[in-house]
Amino acid sequence: MKTLAVVVTTPPYSHLTITALTYVETALAAGIKVIGVFFYQDGAMHANENISIASDEYQAIAHWQRLNQQYQLPLHICITAAEMRGIACDSIDNEQINQAFTVSGLGELVELTTKATRLVQF
């Protein structure tokens, strides 16, 4: 079975993130197995519970959460990228971290890359 892994390097307020979301959702709706999304660089900011984007603008974080729930889509954030952006990752019941996201390391990116037929970066 062909599988897809996605790397997101853009922050939640970036318009490029909308492209990533549309791409992933289209793939999922088409029945493609998306084995995970890895949030690296500014992408790690998605897991920050304190981010607030004006309500009339695109809510990227809410959409990732929705895909996580609807399709059990694994969302991994890079711990190093997150911590340097002010997201403390020291405990599991951390209120700073959006619960839809799993705190992972770059090892998870290796795992996703070796398992995926195709890797797409945004």
């Binding site: 690296y40 990228a81 770059l106 990116l109 195709r118 890797l119 970066q121």
Partner: protein, 132 residues
Amino acid sequence: MTSSDQQVDSNLSQENGLAIINSKAPFSSNYGKDALDVALIFGSFEQKVSLFFQGDGVYQLIANQDASLVSIKDYLKTFSAFEFYDIEDIYVCQQSLVNRQLDEAFHINDVQVLASVEFGKALNRHQHVLRF
């Protein structure tokens, strides 16, 4: 292309694993360090990884740079550890060097300078590509 050719091509790309393209100058952003971290992790998991330097990314290979002058931790020094991570395929785009009037004087050995077409072909031999 026949189906057997496609089979050969797909085997080739499997063999070559991940390509990381470095396209940014070394000290104006964190991109180079972020790419290096990915490369070293793949190396330590014994996954094949090749490095490509293109555009302003070629500045990451130029010898005799001193990051401490701009108060930056010199991650370029870590490039000399590539052999310990079995990262052996390092390619630089010749046209990018020419455009910037840079000599082929690099701070690490075994860098392969490739013309644009060859650079593209080398990239094409990889199953996955990440760009930083």
